[in-house]
């Protein structure tokens, strides 16, 4: 089996991301279930990199010329979803912080008045 340079980069990146997930799990930023999800996801990624032919059926059904094109489009869609949900959750957190700080300031002022 010949492994291309791009596959080596993909595998190293996936291993690195598993390591990053592990560190976050150790710091308790991720719970057990989340940790399992990320390991599963990056393992799938490694399998697809090593055996891109397993996606050939899907590539044909969706009329993509190459498996790489399918992966690129999927990556863009995932990144867009992540970006959008980050934006929404940021806005929610901002609003919560604003409300909390403002209420705290008003209460403190009226109490000390």
């Amino acid at each position: 089996m010949n492994i291309l340079g791009v596959q080596i980069i993909g595998i190293l990146f996936s291993i690195f991301m598993v390591y990053v997930s592990f560190l976050n799990w150790k710091k308790k930023d991720l719970n057990n279930l989340e940790m399992l999800f990320w390991i599963f996801l990056w393992t799938c990624f490694i399998i697809i990199i090593l055996f891109p032919n397993i996606l050939q059926g899907l590539t044909k059904i969706l009329f993509f010329a190459r498996t790489m094109d399918l992966l690129m489009i999927a990556a863009f869609i995932i990144l867009t979803i992540i970006g959008y949900s980050n934006y929404i959750s940021n806005k929610k957190i901002e609003k919560k912080i604003e409300k909390m700080v403002r209420n705290q300031a008003i209460k403190k002022y009226l109490k000390n008045k």
Binding site: E94, I97, E98, V101, R102, Q104, A105, I106, K108, Y109, L110, K113
Partner: protein
């Protein structure tokens, strides 16, 4: 009594150089002042305390719009019916206060101060302001001479209808847009602006953000 039924709300953020000067001038005109310190890291709050002016303090910096909202809500809780906002950077002449209150008394929901252009206006600010004013008037279909001016008065009734979401410098644009949308009665009074620092206040980045948000407020 009716003339006393108001508060001047002054949002302040890191204004140790100017806030003392401005508040001393404002104290000569009125004692009904509420300062909102928006998480300043300098000596602004200490200066306000020394002047024995009531101060509400945000524990972190939230932005001008949020500070204005906090000040307004405290003023309403204290039972007032009208508020006037003035920036704490000594950019607005406090002598405008009676004119704003007089107009509010005569039945206007909002009274906006409009800065007059003088030879002392820095060119970059003048150009930025003119372009901004033109775009805001165009998009919102209005004819305001200075929609970016942070000095304006409003009644409780107006506040309840236009209570803003913006926590930053977009607040004036949002208030203008909501004034039009809610068909509130507004007027303008001229004010001579004092420019101390070419580089403070609304930055080019803030101006760009305001421009990007104009369509949002127009079609909200």
């Amino acid at each position: 009594m009716s003339r006393q039924n108001y508060f001047v709300v002054v949002p302040v953020y890191n204004e140790q150089e100017r806030v003392g000067i401005f508040l001393k001038k404002l104290k000569k005109i009125t004692k009904r002042i509420l300062v909102v310190d928006d998480g300043s890291e300098d000596r602004s709050a200490e200066i306000v305390n020394r002047l024995k002016i009531p101060i509400i303090r945000h524990s972190i910096n939230l932005g001008k719009g949020a500070a204005m909202k906090t000040g307004a809500e405290v003023a309403w809780k204290l039972g007032t019916k009208r508020i006037v906002f003035m920036d704490g950077d000594d950019q607005h002449d406090p002598k405008i206060l009676p004119a704003i209150l007089k107009k509010l008394d005569s039945g206007y929901d909002l009274v906006f101060a409009a800065r007059t252009i003088s030879t002392k206006t820095p060119l970059a600010r003048y150009l930025g302001n003119r372009i901004g004013v033109y775009l805001i008037n165009l998009f919102l279909g209005i004819n305001r001479s200075d929609p970016f001016c942070g000095c304006f008065g409003m009644t409780k009734r107006a506040y309840d209808r236009i209570v803003w979401d913006s926590s930053n410098y977009n607040v004036e644009t949002e208030i203008t847009a909501k004034t039009i949308k809610n068909k509130l009665k507004y007027s303008e009074v001229p004010i001579s602006a004092i420019y101390h620092d070419k580089y403070k206040g609304i930055t080019i980045l803030d101006a760009l953000k305001i421009m990007i948000n104009i369509p949002k407020y127009r079609f909200q």
